[in-house]
């Protein structure tokens, strides 16, 4: 059985500025993977490649053994099942929320996938209840708080029950309670055959959302391992700008050491 995603020597540039260079990786079905890296390390670009929104200038990307190219996605026979199976939650919810009401927003994807009216109405109502946003259904998305926007953005893709969920910084800019709600939601997918790929630079959530961690650095994979292996490698994390040297004093003696926050506790 081929890997769900297979990338070989992938390069991608933004106007001659390289975002990904020679990146190769496999992601199996049902895996929960975290892509960690500092700002500009290529996490968001990689997610867009996996969602078929941009295409490699060099190298190959395939999904379930089929090439993920612009030509292939122009074919409805491939595009509809692909969009049904793979969904991306953007980092900036304002980009994703373009419909006049929350209900319309959540109904957008099912309608584009040509679901019947009855199925759309039932599924949207169910998803709004599941996400705890049923009371917002007639509200315009631009009048929501940051946490509410994020939940609506998640609801707008979860409604189609995708097999693969791509999340771009799902907890960035959220208050602690909203962060916890989003993490709970990702964890609820545990044990199912769903694949969850999360890009983040917040190490404190990695253990909760992924079993495998890929550290991205300068457009390539710098390291790959379990959450425990990666999070205990302080040298790697320091080099990848994921932790910082914490400088403080004890009894007048100043010293410094790597600094990391975990979701449940704060370690020094």
């Amino acid at each position: 059985m081929p890997p769900l995603f297979e990338l070989r020597d992938v390069c991608f540039d933004y106007d001659d500025v390289p975002a990904l260079s020679g990146l190769s990786l496999n992601i199996a079905q049902g895996e929960r993977v975290a892509l960690v890296g500092a700002n500009g390390s290529g996490k968001s670009t990689l997610l867009r490649l996996l969602d078929g929104l941009c295409f490699a200038s060099q190298g190959t990307v395939s999904f379930a053994g089929q090439p993920l190219t612009a030509e292939h996605l122009a074919d409805d026979g491939f595009a509809f099942p692909f969009r049904r199976r793979v969904a991306l939650v953007f980092q900036n919810p304002d980009v994703q929320l373009f419909n006049p009401t929350v209900f319309d927003e959540v109904a957008f994807a099912p309608l584009q996938l040509r679901w019947s009216k009855e199925k759309v109405l039932a599924k949207v109502s169910e998803t709004l209840e599941l996400m705890g946003i049923a009371h917002l259904r007639e509200r315009p998305p631009y009048r929501l708080s940051g946490g509410e926007k994020k939940r609506v953005a998640l609801a707008s893709v979860i409604v189609i029950d995708p097999e693969v969920l791509l999340l771009d910084e799902p907890t960035a800019t959220l208050d602690p309670r909203s962060q916890s709600q989003v993490i709970d939601l990702i964890q609820e997918w545990k044990g199912s055959s769903k694949t969850v790929i999360t890009a983040t630079h917040q190490l404190e959530i990695v253990e909760d959302i992924a079993e495998r961690v890929l550290v991205l650095e300068a457009g390539g994979v710098a390291a790959s391992g379990t959450s425990a292996e990666i999070l205990s490698n302080h040298e790697l994390l320091l080099r990848a700008n994921l932790v910082h040297a914490h400088r403080h004093s004890h009894g007048g003696v100043v010293h410094s050491h790597p600094h990391i926050h975990s979701h449940s506790e704060h370690e020094h």
């Binding site: 929104l53 409805d76 595009a79 980009v95 319309d104 309608l111 584009q112 009216k117 998305p141 631009y142």
Partner: protein, 269 residues
């Protein structure tokens, strides 16, 4: 630091948009227009606007204006809101255009202001122009105030407006808020880092640079939004839910609108 023209205009626009959002509260009230199917509202008020533009008699347009007032009261729209947000603004703009007609239209003189003469026909022409615009804009405002924007769009779609046009309207409405908010934040950010008064030339340069950055941001935003739409299965053809149902009440409403329009057009020939 004193606010420049562009900044003041942008902030005023943002304030107006914020007020526009609260118009949705009127749309949720129980009133005459709100009780009708959005398609009937749209079609009926459009027909009345058409009757206003086709009527050549001041008395008929005045009658339609009175009808607009009755509809406003029965639809729980505050007359003070219409007066301040619609009638005064329209009077200011249309008055400038209509004013010369009072003096240049030949006819029976009723007063003399120095070398120029005010004629009866001139007064009638100016009054007809102003009242026509006031009445047409009042009907349009009633539609906007009494109908959630989503329902306006759905009604337009149900009336066979092209999907592309509906999408453009929806996106424009959605992102104008975001861009105005971004522009306001850019001005606030600039003010927080500026001490003293800038020279007019510097202010112009600053405004030009801000406009450029905003344009660049809007292009980036539109690209991102398109990708987000594609990601959720958009293939260039918009599909929307239309769950409007016409009842006997709606058919009666449509009939009343048709009768009012027919009578106004016939009497105003």
């Amino acid at each position: 630091m004193k606010r420049g023209f562009l900044e003041a205009t942008t902030l005023g626009f943002a304030h107006a948009l914020t007020r526009a959002m609260f118009a949705e509260q009127t749309a949720r009230q129980r009133g005459l227009l709100q009780s009708l199917d959005p398609r009937v509202r749209l079609l009926g008020l459009f027909m009345l606007v058409l009757a206003v533009t086709l009527s050549r008699k001041l008395s008929v347009v005045a009658g339609l204006f009175a009808l607009a007032l009755v509809i406003a009261v029965l639809s729980k729209v505050r007359i003070a809101t219409l007066a301040t947000r619609v009638w005064l603004v329209v009077l200011a703009f249309t008055g400038v255009i209509a004013l010369p007609a009072i003096f240049v239209t030949p006819g029976h003189p009723v007063a003399a202001l120095g070398p120029v003469t005010v004629t009866e026909q001139g007064l009638c022409t100016a009054a007809l122009l102003i009242l026509r615009v006031e009445t047409a804009v009042t009907f349009t405002t009633l539609l906007v105030l009494c109908t959630p924007w989503t329902h306006v769009l759905k009604a337009l779609r149900a009336l066979r407006l092209p999907k592309e046009a509906i999408t453009m309207l929806a996106m424009t409405h959605r992102y104008v808020f975001l861009l105005v908010e971004t522009a306001s934040q850019m001005f606030e950010s600039r003010r927080s880092r500026t001490v003293g008064t800038l020279k007019p030339a510097e202010q112009r340069h600053m405004a030009a640079r801000t406009a450029g950055v905003l344009l660049s941001k809007s292009i980036n935003l539109s690209n991102e939004v398109y990708l987000a739409m594609q990601s959720r299965g958009f293939r260039g053809d918009v599909h929307v839910l239309s769950d409007f149902h016409l009842t006997m009440w709606d058919y009666c409403g449509l009939l009343v609108f048709l009768l009012a329009e027919g009578i106004a057009v016939w009497m105003g020939r």
